[in-house]
Symmetry: C2
Subunit: 445 residues, 2 copies
């Protein structure tokens, strides 16, 4: 149809329990016992790999958020889960969310280094700073402020990357004859001392195959974008309109120069929840079925949480009331939700329906061609380097995407037919970083 | 040969890189690249499962200990690794070491709950308090004292077990019709407030299949034994002589009553490193080959670390000098080493050779029958409920054990020919604990 760019899309399967639609567990296409069943996730990773997607991605939080009365929560910790997925896949990237606010750099560096070894270079870390108060209460502290969380995250990243670098490439000799296993001149302490951390090092897991596992980030505040521009190699984002997507894209890419980075060193991947039917009618039918399974009181409860206002007495069929701007934590999400309600003049009930599908991410309902059109539009018009695919129901929604949308994207020359390399960095077209301790940095010539 | 007890041995494969002998990586039967190769560990877990062993077990520390110049260190973090082993096995238990001194109960509860779900009830936790100073330096704190570490461990266990209990059995309804996923009256906050932790809960991973993953412990100090008597269901220990093994066994079992527990609720599993040959001569040959690969200076360095005395100027062929008793941390290990040197009148070089094999654990060299004799002797004479098998070289040493010693133990009626159940608790013959929050506790009748 339009141009045939040689530039290729990057596609992740963003996986969540039995689907991203919050009523997914009630739909006949899902089985709610799958929430804690590793075989369900293994099958999903294999389906995504069959479609040659770049990676699977798991979000995470450190508290039982939302209302478990009506939502299928209580699933598995992503890092542990991904090791079990590594064992049954060969090429697909494996991205886990881990918070910098409630963890220690040594543990995080080590676990991702281990996952990277286990998967042969397929690990990625979605770095989050944990916005909710509920999470703080599971770790015995007051929730740090937004800027403190990002300050800690920044130092956290400095330490973690140095720990990954602490074994230079080539530090392992394995020389049976001399008995020298490693060249200890190439294994380094950090002696990091900073406001948040004091870490001596070295790491006790050798350098990960990718040098550094892929760094992903998903904050949209000023601090979040600055952090992404400095560290992230992929950014996940929720954008509702092409114009907003383009603004975000241009804004973030323009920040990279400040950190000595070029635009192709960071991929921007908005979320999209595709509700797929072989006809438009069938797609709308699935959308309606899911909407009818929403429990309205639960939606009100969730929305109240996001907005920081109690909406439980607000009439469902009235417009959303004025909401005070968030001062902390959920800034970007609050803005996204209030803009959406304002732009489309939604009632509380309608807004709940829209959020139940993608929690603020874009929901696109239609045929494979219609969905491919949307993906292509954003991709060729400077709003995306690819997408986080958020199937409303799992496994079916991912199978539909892989079997019907992916072939359409291939027909248009937008997506790979086979993996080019073996590591996640290679899927993403990103370079492998050297160690900052590497003594063999080539002399400028 | 002797009696045919119906009581059955419990056997774990204690796995460590390419073998427990510190020079294993230099031996032709190993490949040092295996240290970070998941396929190596997957193969080992499958060999252990073929032998119907109870579990595989990985030790762990949070610093690069020992001297990486001469030892194949830098391997994988055990919990992450075990998830990848779960994916290729069906019955064998999966025990990972995690420290209570440098972790948060919420994370630890969640990761083990996840591993337990992923493995269908095969997770076990070897609880350690991290004795070394090097570990403290990776977490920015001064190493807490021995008694502080055990005080923290005790509160840590209270919190973790309550987090596992926070979803009662039966809390998940999955009722599609009403839209009730869970019965929120059966999911509980803990609101734990103690000297070390404040944790609100509930956990955001549902109750593990085993109720609680199996609790294992390996301290031998007074505090350590008291802790084990209260919480542990299996104890790993290093004992050199039958008499010491019997004393330890009787001592620990006698402490259980204090906590309302019976003797069969805790299994005592000493370590044994079997150097196996089809003839005694062949076994001695392997032992000698390994000894000749030891780097003496490295052995001196390690021994100095264990004993807290610098031995680098001490002549290799002189007896071990007087060593001041340890006041903290390594108490039980120091005693074990000095007793061994004293009892057998060992020179520094000889002591190093003995420790290189099993780091304080018993090394038994001989034919499969001779090794089975030793196992049986301890088992029938009140020194062991089973053993931690520590192959000197891997994978070969484990294959030899499974193919030659296990059949011999079966001939004697001491070891299972097939798994009785599917969970690690069932392998160990231990009950599944209920939730302390369970409202359906039967009324005394
Ligand atoms: C696609 C996407 C995925 C996210 N996943 C997580 C997550 O898994 N866990 C989490 O705590 N926050 C998650 N977030 C929230 C952000 O990482 C970030 O913490 C939050 O937006 C607050 O930061 P900000 O103010 O910089 O936007 C996600 C956001 C987006 C857009
Ligand atoms: C078989 C065995 C395995 C052990 N594994 C570990 C380990 O993996 N990590 C660790 O830090 N300590 C390990 N230890 C040490 C003990 O758990 C304990 O921390 C140490 O002995 C000090 O405690 P204690 O003074 O109570 O003996 C092990 C000890 C034994 C006997």
């Amino acid at each position: 149809m339009t141009t045939r760019p040689t530039r290729q899309l990057h596609l992740n399967a963003f996986l969540m329990g039995v689907g991203h639609h919050e009523a997914a567990w009630r739909h006949p296409r899902t089985s709610s016992a799958d929430v804690t069943d590793v075989r369900h996730y293994q099958r999903l990773a294999q389906v995504a790999e069959r479609g040659r997607l770049d990676s699977v991605f798991f979000a995470d939080g450190l508290a039982l958020r939302g209302n478990v009365r009506h939502n299928a929560l209580g699933g598995l910790e992503p890092l542990t889960l991904l090791a079990a997925l590594a064992a049954v896949t060969e090429h697909i990237g494996l991205i886990a969310t881990v918070s910098t606010t409630y963890n220690e750099p040594f543990h995080v560096a080590r676990k991702f280094a281990s996952l990277d070894h286990i998967s042969g270079g397929r690990a990625g870390w979605n770095i989050v700073t944990s916005a909710s108060e509920a999470e703080a209460h599971n770790f015995g502290i007051e929730r740090p402020t937004h800027s403190d969380r990002y300050a800690r995250a920044t130092e956290f990243l400095e330490v973690v990357t140095k720990l990954w670098d602490s074994w230079e490439d080539g530090a392992i000799l394995g020389d049976h004859h001399s008995g020298n296993y490693a060249d200890t001149d190439r294994i380094h302490t950090l002696d990091h001392i900073g406001p948040h951390f004091r870490v001596r090092g070295p790491l006790n897991t050798s350098r990960p195959p990718q040098g550094h596992p892929l760094l992903v980030q998903a904050g949209s505040s000023e601090d979040g974008k600055e952090f992404a521009a400095r560290f992230a190699e992929a950014v996940f984002t929720a954008q509702q309109t092409l114009a907003d997507g383009q603004d975000f894209y241009a804004d973030l890419k323009s920040r990279l120069g400040r950190y000595g980075r070029s635009e192709d060193e960071l991929l921007i991947l908005p979320g999209i929840s595709p509700i797929i039917g072989s006809t438009e009618r069938e797609a709308l039918q699935l959308e309606r079925e899911l909407e009818e399974l929403i429990i309205p009181e639960y939606g009100v409860h969730q929305l109240s949480n996001i907005l920081g206002v109690d909406l439980s007495d607000h009439p469902l069929d009235a417009r959303l009331p004025e909401v005070p701007p968030a001062t902390d934590g959920q800034q970007s999400r609050v803005k996204l939700v209030t803009d959406l309600a304002e732009r489309e003049q939604l009632t509380l009930r309608q807004l709940i329906g829209r959020l139940a599908g993608g929690r603020g991410h874009r929901v696109v309902t239609g045929t494979p061609e219609q969905i491919a059109d949307q993906i292509e539009e954003w991709f060729v018009n400077g709003a995306a380097d690819g997408f986080n695919i958020m199937p409303p129901v799992l496994p079916g929604g991912l199978e539909d995407f892989v079997d019907h949308v992916v072939p359409e994207l291939r027909l248009r020359g937008l997506f790979r037919t086979d993996y080019e390399g073996r590591t996640l960095r290679q899927n993403y077209g990103l370079a492998r970083p050297g160690s900052i301790f590497d003594q063999k940095v080539p002399v400028a010539s």
